[in-house]
Chain length 353, copies 2
Amino acid sequence: MTLRIALDAMGGELGPDEMVAGAIQAVEESDLNVVLIGDENILNRVLQKQSLPPSRLHVIHASQTVSMDEPPFEAIRKKKDSSIVKAFACVKKGEADAVVSAGNSGATLASAIRSLGRLENISRPGIANAFPTLKKPLVMMDVGANVDCRPQHLFQFGVMGAAFSDNLFRIKRPSIGLLSIGEEGGKGNVLVKSAHELFRKSSLNFIGNVEGRDIFQGNVDVIVCDGFVGNVCLKVSEGLAEAIISMLRIEMSKSFMAKMGYLLAKKAFGNFGKRVDYAEYGGAPLLGINGTGIVCHGRSNAKAIKNAIKVAAEMIRSKVNYHILQLLSESDQRSAQTEPKETAAVIGPGEDA
Amino acid sequence: MTLRIALDAMGGELGPDEMVAGAIQAVEESDLNVVLIGDENILNRVLQKQSLPPSRLHVIHASQTVSMDEPPFEAIRKKKDSSIVKAFACVKKGEADAVVSAGNSGATLASAIRSLGRLENISRPGIANAFPTLKKPLVMMDVGANVDCRPQHLFQFGVMGAAFSDNLFRIKRPSIGLLSIGEEGGKGNVLVKSAHELFRKSSLNFIGNVEGRDIFQGNVDVIVCDGFVGNVCLKVSEGLAEAIISMLRIEMSKSFMAKMGYLLAKKAFGNFGKRVDYAEYGGAPLLGINGTGIVCHGRSNAKAIKNAIKVAAEMIRSKVNYHILQLLSESDQRSAQTEPKETAAVIGPGEDA
C-alpha cells in the first residue's frame, strides 16, 4: 500500500516554497504520496512555479495558520481550519497516514493528542529527538512537551525512546541513560532519583545516570529527561555550535595565513557541517500518540522536510507504536510491583552538590 | 593589607605539582600570599623541585583528602583533617582570607557553609560560573549546588549573580535573564513561572526569560536557573565543544589540502581555544556564604589556579558580599510584599509545549 504523508505546508520559517520543495523531493525519491495542507491559492501558485509537479502530490485547503508563538491549546481550539489541525483531521478520516510539520511544535502535539488520542497506558506523549554524535545516532526524550514530570513519565519516555531507536536505527536492546548531574544513582534531583529506581528495577537495558557531556560521545542510545531540561539541552547545543563556528570564522579571517588555511580547509568545514546538520535527521518524532507525527525545526529546509517525510513512512512501516506497547507491557510487568510511591519534585536537603 | 588565599593543594585531577605551580605564578604576578593546605611531605617535596619558592608561600599540613566522588556532607563530617575542611578552618581562625579549591565542589561548598555560615537572609548559597561568550562574560547561577529549588531561591541567585557581575566585570545594573524554554513569561515549568513573577515585580534589571541559545550570544549579563539545569548546561557545553573540535580535526585530516589548511590555520585554532578556555576565567565563585571561596574545574591547570586566586582576592577587595546584602535588601523591599505563595515544582497541565 502506498503511504500518504500529510505535510503542514504553512509551517516553518522558510515558508510554503521550501515545504513544497521538500515534498517534491520526497515523492521523487520514494513511492510515497504527499498531501499538502494549507492555503490552496498559495500552494497552487507555488506548485505552478515548479516544473512538472509529480502526480503523487495533492493539496487540501486550510484557511488558517497557527503561528510559532501562539499558546498551543488555545490556538488549536480557536483555529479549527488551520493547516496543523486539518492535517491530523486527515489522518483521523483515513485520508493520510502520518503528519509532518515544521510549525508550532506544541500545537502539533496538542492536535495529535486531540485528534488521535494517546497510546494505551501512555500517560504523556512527548517529543523525541535524534542527535548526531561522534558514533551512532542518539534518541533523547522528552525535548519540550512535558515541562513538569513525574518519575513514571520519565520511565515511559525511556520505553518510547528505546522502541524508536530499535525500529529506526536497528539498535537491538538500546541502552538507556537517565540525564543527571553525576553518574552515581544517588545524584540528581528528587524527580531523577525516583525515576532511577523505576528504571533500575525494570527489564530495560538501563545503564544508569549519564551526564550532559555523554550526549555527543555516542556511548548511549537513548537519553531520558523531562521536557524542560531536554529543551534547554537542545537550545544550548544549537547556540554553542553556532557560537563556535562564528568564533572560528572570526579567528580565521584575522591573518593572511589563517585565511589561506580556511580556504584550503573549506571542504572539511562543509563535511563537518553535514555531520552536525539536523536536516540530515529529518525532525523529531512525536511518541506516545495513537498515530504518527513528526515535528521539524522551524528553520527546516527542503532537505529536512524530505527526510522527515521519509522517517514518518519508516515509523509506520516498522510499526514503532506496536513496539512501544509491547516494550511497555514487558517492562511494566517487572517494574509495576516495585514502583516506589510517586514523589513530586520537592525541595531536597541541598546535599547533592 | 596583604591578602592571604588558602589553596586546597590536594584538590584537582592534575595533582599537587600543578596546584603549587599555580600558587607560585599567583604570588609572582601579585602582592598576594598563598597558604598551601595539604600533606606537608608532598608539598615540601614539590616546593623543593621549584627554583626559589617565593617567601609569600606557606604550607599548612592536612593529613586527609576528600576525593571527587565522595558524598560531600559525609566526607566533611568524617574527614576533619582534610585539606578542604582545614582550608575553611584557616579562614575561620583568621589565618587566611579566602579559599580556592579544584577538588570536590560539593564538599567545598559544604565546608564553606559549615565553617563560615550563610550571608544574612540568603536561603541557599550556590555556585556561580562565568562563561565566555561572543561579547562580554556571562554569570550563570546556580550551576550545581541546589538541584531542587523554590522560586525564592532562584530570585536570590539572580541577586547574587548581579552583585558579582557588577563588582568583578564592572557591569552597572547587570541585566538578568531567567533560563526557560520560551521567551514569553508564561513559558516554562511551574518553578520558572513563579520565579518570573518575583523578578518581574522586583527593582532588578530583569529582562525576562532567556533560552539556551542566549548563553553564548553575550546579550545578557546574568542567567538564573536551578542547580540541576545549570549543571546540565555546563556539561552539555563542555561535551559539545570537545565533540566539535574532534569532528573538525577528523575532517581536516582527511585530505592533503585540508591538512595543509589546518596547518596554516593552526594559530587561529589556538586563539579560538583561548577564547573558550575556562582557565582564562579562574573558576566558579561560591556565592551566599559568609566569606569568600572559589571552586575550580577538576582539570584545572596552573594558569586556572593562578587566575582563581586573583579572582578570590578581587572578590574580597571589591566587597562582593557587602554588595549582595545591599542589593538583596533593596530588591526585597519591592518584591517582598508582592511575592506569590511559594509553590514546589509539581505537575503542570502539560500545556507548555
